[in-house]
């Protein structure tokens, strides 16, 4: 069996979540690990899906609709975005917003400073909103993703400070207080679908809508996962292992998709 990195595991796992013709939102991330989670792994995953089983899958990235994922920019300064070839680049971000509200997106990749038991997320403020301990960036289109995208997927490293019992501020409404509360609040189908971390994958229980351990990455124990979380997720009786990437997937990632280790660097 080939060895693989956690990033490769996640990228291959995510690629299998992408269905043919899915329109996937990828954010424009920042630097370092945050870039890998927000941009690098999602782009690699969608590209792998395109090459294997989902040729019609497409990405909306920045304001580029279907950028050419066969040629990933080597650096991500402004000019790389400007020159990246794509099928379309609408005149302003309002078009993307309309596409979100119209529910044209199937998948989104999201990260957050805080995520809670019911998949509510916070990128706005830590502590009290009006006198915060840490003021974060605001909201961007994260509320739209949870409100309108069919299968939002969170990519976050497992950490007690991020996986909290209750977010300090609900930027994006997930399953709110669980059960039927999301629908009661006026939201449609959707909300967080999967949470993919460096240690395990979670989904949300059909009834309570509480976060549920779905699989453990190879070599990771249940206790390791629980000790990295600020709340206890639903634990099924048997916990499968996250399916490892096969040799062909790994070769495609390493040789074709990300030969210069730009996407899956850190």
């Amino acid at each position: 069996m080939t060895s693989f990195s956690t990033n490769e595991l996640i990228a291959a796992y995510l690629s299998r979540q992408i269905r043919d013709d899915d329109l996937c939102f990828v954010g424009v991330g920042t630097n370092g690990r945050a870039f890998t989670l927000a941009v690098g792994i999602p782009l690699a995953a969608v590209r792998l899906a395109q090459m294997r089983h989902a040729p019609g899958a497409a990405v909306y990235w920045g304001n580029l609709l279907e950028p050419d994922l066969s040629v990933i920019p080597e650096s991500f300064t402004q000019d790389a975005f400007t020159r990246w070839e794509a099928a379309a680049c609408p005149p302003d971000t309002g078009t993307k917003c309309d596409m979100l509200a119209r529910r044209r997106f199937d998948v989104s990749f999201n990260s957050a400073a805080q995520l809670d038991r019911f998949g509510n997320m916070n990128i706005t403020a830590i502590g009290d909103y009006r006198a915060p301990k840490v003021r974060l960036v605001g909201s961007l289109a994260q509320p739209e993703h949870f409100a309108f995208v069919r299968r939002p997927i969170l990519l976050m490293d497992l950490d007690k400070r991020s996986f909290v019992e209750r977010v300090d501020f609900i930027t994006s409404a997930g399953h709110l207080s669980g059960g039927d509360s999301r629908r009661q609040a006026g939201l449609g189908e959707g909300g967080p679908h999967l949470v993919v971390t460096d240690k395990a994958v979670f989904d949300f229980a059909e009834d309570t809508r509480a976060m549920r351990l779905r699989s453990l990455h190879p070599g990771v124990t249940r206790d390791e996962v629980l000790s990295s979380m600020g709340f206890e997720p639903v634990i099924p009786d048997t916990i499968p292992e996250t399916t490892a990437p096969n040799a062909e997937e790994l070769t495609t990632i390493r040789k074709t998709i990300d030969p210069n280790r730009i996407l899956l660097k850190v």
Partner: protein, 297 residues
């Protein structure tokens, strides 16, 4: 047509303390930084600032303690992390924030552009963004279906500042065919009451009118236009120059402390009388040439 070509000084003279101000650009693309530095030099305070994805322009105003309230979708430094001065201003209570998600902010701009008091969305059910802001986000019933929708109040500001690529003296501003467009400059222009535009370059009107569909800001909407090359520096103007990593890093590093931010302002804002001197200060033509991304076009 009216000649609207003027200087930063004259164009920005009406912007006084207490004004509300929409700032164009998104992330590191075309924030109106030269105009903002001029405003800081002129000593305006207590601004209500609105932005799309605000970075340098908003944070510079925060460093100068010129912001009383901010409304928008994001303030940060993109790949340079959180916005240090803005963050400090919010955390210490000097800046009041009103967050809006993207569809909400789009609705606000479109409402203003259409002369309407509000437009509906249905994004923010269950979000604390709506809970903390009943003044500008309210639930109501659809007159047809009876379903609950959210009304978002129009984004009305006294002034709107946008930095564009090229324009003529009548205020018609054009973009290149290939460009980055992940922003709301055109909707902001359409929503503006008093629109002040800086551009990289003034071009002849004869050139503009050969390709009228490239005009994204018609001169008819513009109050004043000013030629300000590198007007977005240290951020980028897509198709012309990239962000200045050295200057960006220096700004972020110094802004870790109030004193550091003040030393930055002293050096690059208050310490230079105008934009030309600023460009010399950050390295002049030689340094700026390294940021050039034009492809011989």
């Amino acid at each position: 047509m009216k000649d609207k070509l003027t200087t930063l000084e004259k164009a920005l003279a009406p912007v006084i303390s207490g004004s509300s101000l929409m700032l164009g650009g998104s992330l590191l693309r075309r924030p109106p930084n030269a105009a903002v530095r001029h405003l800081i030099r002129s000593g305006v305070r207590d601004l209500t600032v609105m932005s799309w994805a605000g970075t340098t322009a908003v944070d510079l105003l925060a460093a100068a303690d010129a912001i009383r309230r901010w409304e928008g979708i994001y303030v940060g430094m993109f790949n340079y992390g959180l916005a240090p001065n803005f963050r400090r201003g919010v955390e210490n209570g000097r800046i009041e924030v009103r967050d809006f998600s993207e569809t909400a902010m789009v609705a606000r701009l479109r409402a203003a552009a259409q002369g309407l008091p509000f437009l509906p969305i249905r994004t923010l059910f269950g979000s604390d963004i709506a809970r903390v802001n009943p003044e500008q986000i309210r639930s109501f019933s659809c007159p047809f279906t009876g379903e609950t929708l959210q009304a978002i109040a129009a984004a009305e500001t006294d002034f709107t500042l946008i930095h564009g690529y090229a324009g003529d003296k009548y205020g018609n501003v054009q973009w290149p065919v290939v460009r980055d467009t992940d922003d709301m400059d055109q909707p902001m222009a359409a929503a503006a009451k008093r629109l002040i535009v800086t551009v990289e370059k003034i071009i002849p009107h004869e050139e503009v009118r050969k390709q009228p569909s490239l005009t994204y800001i018609p001169g008819n909407w513009v109050e004043a236009i000013v030629e300000v090359p590198f007007g977005a520096h240290p951020a980028a103007c897509d198709t012309l120059y990239d962000e200045d990593d050295r200057q960006m890093s220096d700004y972020v590093a110094r802004s870790r402390t109030v004193e550091g931010a003040e030393s930055y302002l002293a050096e690059f804002v208050h310490g230079v009388p105008d934009h030309t001197t600023y460009l010399e200060k950050v390295g002049g033509a030689a340094a700026l040439a390294t940021l050039d991304v034009r492809m011989g076009d």
